[in-house]
Amino acid sequence: MRLTQLLCSSVGKWSKQFSNLPDRYIERTMNQVYWKNPKGSQYKPNTEVKRKKFRFSVHRPWTAQFRQQNSPGKLYKKVFVEPIKDWSFFRGDRVEVLVGPDKGKQGYVKQIIEERNWVFVEGLNCTLKDMGGDKKYPGIYVKMEQPLLVTTQVSLVDPSDLQATAFEWRFTEEGDKVRVSTRTGRIIPLPASIEETIDYKSKATYKEQPKDTLADDVSEVTFQPALKTFQMDIMESMDIKDERVPLKTYWY
């Protein structure tokens, strides 16, 4: 169990969810160790000089663009992010945009960047980016969604009347934690694509590939406990008979 704080713990859970990447990979790609103690007992205590403050933006933390933005020596002004206790905006949630030219329009959450309290709503709050232009070629315009702040710029939509609403996390009688619209009291259910990743839409609907062990084969119990060691089991299966008994030993 590592006592030092992991780098990838600064990356939000819902930011990593869709990528389905293991934590140790994200850490490995984010790691920027500038100097490390040489190996040897005379070089204790162990010191590691590495980057601790990262600038989180549109690029995912394991990408090359993130690494370029956070290259050694690059310092950014601290971005103040309102700490949210319970993150409540998931992929596939129906939300209404409250600011900008798309004010009043509703759309579905496409991407989450928890570190900046951002969500990207599909097709809304877009800008046109002139990309690929040089002296001869005029370039093309690419329409890209801009991030929206979860706290102020976006609001959940009540499924009963499809209007923007404030909400609260409450417990049902069964004990489940749910989002409840404060205006109507209707439960805002979690979207179906909450557990969606780049590899599967949901674990239950995953299509098994040729190199995958089937779920039934994994959970099948084939082991039968028997009173013999591994070697004795092999001897029995290979019909090796050895009746020798070792000589008696004595303790003095």
Binding site: G40, K203, Y206, T213, A215, V218, S219, T229, Q231
Partner: protein
Amino acid sequence: MSYVNLIIKRSISTSSIREGKRNFKKFSLHNKRGSRIFKQMQAENPDPEMPIDKRGVRDVGYTLNGTFYTVPEMIPELIVPDLKDFKLKPYVSYRAPEIYQEELTAQTLFDVVYAPKIKKDHTENKLSADGNPMEPSVQEKQTSEEAWNKAKMTGSELL
């Protein structure tokens, strides 16, 4: 309380060398190491002091008067079990449930091997007054010495 060892003896310090500076500046440029020009020169006229680094893998024969003779017996034969109808594959499907298995302890082994007979005897009242079975099985008939000898036979893990 600390005592000073007054027995004077000479010793050699090995820790100073073991933990000492080992960042030597010369590295062997074998195989794919070295610049392009160096590797070209090695291909035409290999330096005898820099043979091909086999990384611990042994040759499958011997060299005699400049020629290499392969010895078929030296070629390793990999015995791999027949994986026909083998259901386990390299990866696990995402659909597989979380499996929690308890530790296999001596208690579990006892419960599987001996406990059923003892339970049966108890319910059918086939245990004598002092708790011994009236119809002992093969394992129950063993004496302590017999059981020990059996446990010490080939394949034993008693060391």
